[in-house]
């Protein structure tokens, strides 16, 4: 049981990473990652909506008629999206300004509806919470990572700290729309490559272990 809970949590961070492996929720990923801090802000907003709506959906999963489940999910998600929209507008106006349209658009983020449909409506609240938290943290690190790459390449800073000497040329293209596509494409490719290499290593270990046993036998 313990291992399966760990697995529910960890799958969102790597194996089933929503952005980099499943390739869902791409619009905000591309649009808001002009700086690491924006990616982090968006990620935290997604965690809030994802965790709250997953737990609520899981709690009332036995009362929702199957035919109208999707509209019900969307209503719940829209409620929490409106809440985070108002909270950000009230307390973090600068971040709200940058994320702009993409805050209300959390409603149609496939990650959240996807977890509701695939997991929260079939599992008890505690498991839904763990699953949502893992997926949300996966989204957050993905967005922050892509934001950091674009910020370093485009402005030479991370979270506003200068790390590349100011004399170096910064590539503005990384802050513009094409840079978003390039960065995400390369990060997705790198992640695939790491997985290929790990897969090959694992097969090698299995094979050499089998060979070792054969020799001993």
């Amino acid at each position: 049981m313990q291992t399966s809970i760990n697995r529910e949590f960890l799958k969102g961070l790597w194996d089933e990473h929503p952005i980099l492996r499943l390739l869902i929720g791409m619009c905000p990923t591309l649009a808001v990652t002009t700086a690491a801090v924006n990616g982090l802000g968006m990620g935290l907003s997604v965690i809030f909506v994802l965790v709250c709506s997953s737990v609520i959906i899981s709690l009332i999963r036995n009362f929702i008629p199957n035919q109208v489940r999707i509209p019900c999910f969307i209503m719940i998600i829209a409620t929490f999206t409106t809440i985070i929209d108002m909270v950000l507008a009230a307390y973090f106006p600068a971040l709200h300004e940058v994320l702009g349209l993409f805050i209300p658009l959390i409603v149609v983020n496939c990650i959240i509806l996807g977890r509701a449909e695939a997991f929260a409506c079939k599992n008890p609240p505690a498991r839904a919470f763990i699953d949502a938290l893992g997926m949300g943290l996966g989204v957050t690190w993905g967005l922050t990572f892509i934001g950091a790459i674009r910020e370093i390449m485009g402005m030479g800073t991370v979270f506003g700290l200068q790390i590349v000497p100011e004399t170096a040329t910064s590539w503005i293209i990384f802050l513009l729309p094409p840079g978003a596509f390039f960065t995400l494409g390369i990060v997705v490719g790198a992640m695939n490559h790491i997985n290929h290499v790990m897969e090959r290593r694992r097969q090698q270990t299995v094979r050499s272990a089998a060979a070792g046993q054969a020799v001993q036998g």
Binding site: T79, T82, V108, F181
Partner: protein
């Protein structure tokens, strides 16, 4: 009249929803493997965009604003879009089976297409009139179809290309989209809004 033309051209080329504003990326990557399906998806989306643009405009100006309920915007817009898609689907199924066969499979996907909701929210933000909203929706849909069809054309050719294993599939599609986006940046000085 000129302003309507500007809104249209601006939405198709200068602020292309997919390549410049990053709305509707999921269908852009998911349904762009073949030219036929890309065109079908583009047309279905344009259709829903025009209808939902007009419907949300009416609701915003005759219900939400007079009764002081702008905080229900997100909630009511998504409801309108979801129910509209359902109605369109049933209507097409009954009245024109041919069109339904062509567009039917795409319709449920459109509910969660952020370009449709994004369009409604953006038209409200810009406080467009009803006619302007409809023209904006037509332009946006046109731009979406254009990007989708161009991408499908490229991907059909790419089937035969020798691509590094790690970049196959999504990786190379995203990089291609980046190059297309770069090309669309050439339009950015075309008109000033």
């Amino acid at each position: 009249m000129t302003s309507l033309a500007l809104i249209f051209v601006g939405a198709v080329l200068v602020n292309n929803f997919v390549l410049v504003r990053f709305l509707g990326i999921c269908p852009f990557l998911g349904v762009s493997k073949q030219l036929d399906t890309a065109l079908g998806m583009g047309m279905a989306t344009t259709f829903v965009m025009v209808l939902s643009g007009a419907a949300t405009w009416l609701v915003e100006n005759y219900i939400l604003i007079p009764y002081g309920l702008p905080f229900l915007q997100t909630l009511s817009y998504i409801l309108i879009i979801a129910s509209l898609v359902q109605v369109v689907e049933m209507f097409l199924q009954k009245t024109s089976p041919g069109l339904y066969r062509a567009l039917g499979i795409f319709l449920p996907l459109i509910t969660t297409n952020c370009a449709v909701l994004g369009l409604a929210l953006m038209a409200t933000q810009q406080s467009y009139s009803l006619v302007e909203t409809i023209v904006f929706a037509l332009g946006t849909g046109g731009g979406f179809t254009l990007a989708l069809a161009a991408m499908a054309g490229i991907r059909e050719q790419m089937e035969f290309a020798d691509i590094p294993k790690a970049l196959q599939g999504a990786g190379i599609s995203l990089i291609t989209a980046g190059l297309m986006s770069l090309a669309f940046m050439g339009f950015s000085g075309l008109i000033s809004m």
